[in-house]
Symmetry: C2
Subunit: 200 residues, 2 copies
């Protein structure tokens, strides 16, 4: 019986968290795991209704998502969170609570994000029409020791997905899959990173 | 692999929900199931911080617990909720969302509850020191078709627990256990109730 773990995406709005979360979910489901993605409208409706974007409310939201990930993880489900989660301290609290926790930092420079901006959010935030917008008018604290960094401005999505899957394999959270999607060099680089950070 | 379900306790403060929830959890854990009890301080801290006791806030709280039970249930975990959950419509919403849902109504007359009152809550509520106290100054809507009714003023806890376990067995949510804790007559009465209500 596979044990649960949490994949915690963090990064600015538009940095690719949800897209990557769904791709990772699909691969894990195909491998027979139980997976829940906590993301977007469903979380806002079902878990965080009434919360705003002050630091306190953001912290409450991220702690709450963390607690649900904790319940799922300890019952052998893979929980995937795709919230911005701007504050390091609260992400680290969740890491401590959950234990089996893989942090994926979706890095992406702000100019690329402004260029993408499919919902026009950055434009509105820059005009001051949205307050407390992370990366524009609200802080974002990047993780110091994320298990995975993906740079969605520079690398294609398959590369990012395969690095995440490779990391889960190297951590022995999932068995090595058939038809590995990454090279020996990439595997070596994943291993080296996890060793350098003290995760393996 | 056992499938998940939700046992939803409902009833006034002090009616025995938490005690029964823990007893049922222990029996299901002994039978090798995965079980989470959503109750009390842990829920208030981790899920419902900031919510009060207005009808709207209570509804939000009960919907939120229901959503977490839904996530657990669809991942083959047994979720047990022990919240007062005073409003029928929201409990029924949760029943619909979750599907595999067993409602346990903890009946107990108010005089018995006032007599027990281990935390002095009824005394304070009757003096007006606690506002919106269910059963005193806030409504409680009993369920119309609960799978199980336990009367904790009149029956001992083992009888209540065995009726709940017997109901889970009759619904085929759990396999029949060794050393059944209830008589043939009790089994017949459980079956008859579930048939009369259209649950089997």
């Amino acid at each position: 019986m596979a044990k649960g773990f949490t994949v915690w995406f963090t990064g600015l709005s538009g940095s690719g968290k949800s897209t990557l979360a769904e791709r990772v979910r699909d691969i894990l489901l195909e491998r027979g795991m139980k997976v829940e993605v906590l993301d977007g409208d469903e979380v806002r409706t079902n878990l965080s209704k009434g919360l705003g974007f002050s630091k306190e409310d953001r912290d409450t939201n991220i702690r709450r998502i963390g607690w649900v990930c904790h319940l799922l993880t300890r019952n052998d489900v893979v929980a995937i969170s795709a919230a911005i989660s701007p504050y390091k301290a609260i992400r680290d609290e969740n890491r401590k609570l959950i234990g089996r926790f893989v942090e994926v930092y979706c890095e992406c420079d702000i100019d690329t994000l402004k260029g993408r901006d499919p919902k026009g959010l950055y434009e509105k935030a820059l005009k001051g029409e949205i307050k407390n917008f992370t990366g524009v008018s609200d802080p974002y604290e990047p993780p110091e020791k994320p298990e995975v960094v993906v740079d969605t401005a520079k690398e294609d999505i398959d590369t990012s997905v395969q690095r995440i899957i490779g990391t889960l394999e190297q951590l022995n959270y999932i068995p090595a899959g058939d038809g590995r999607g990454y090279s020996d060099d990439e595997e070596e680089s994943i291993k080296q990173r996890l060793k350098d950070l003290g995760y393996i």
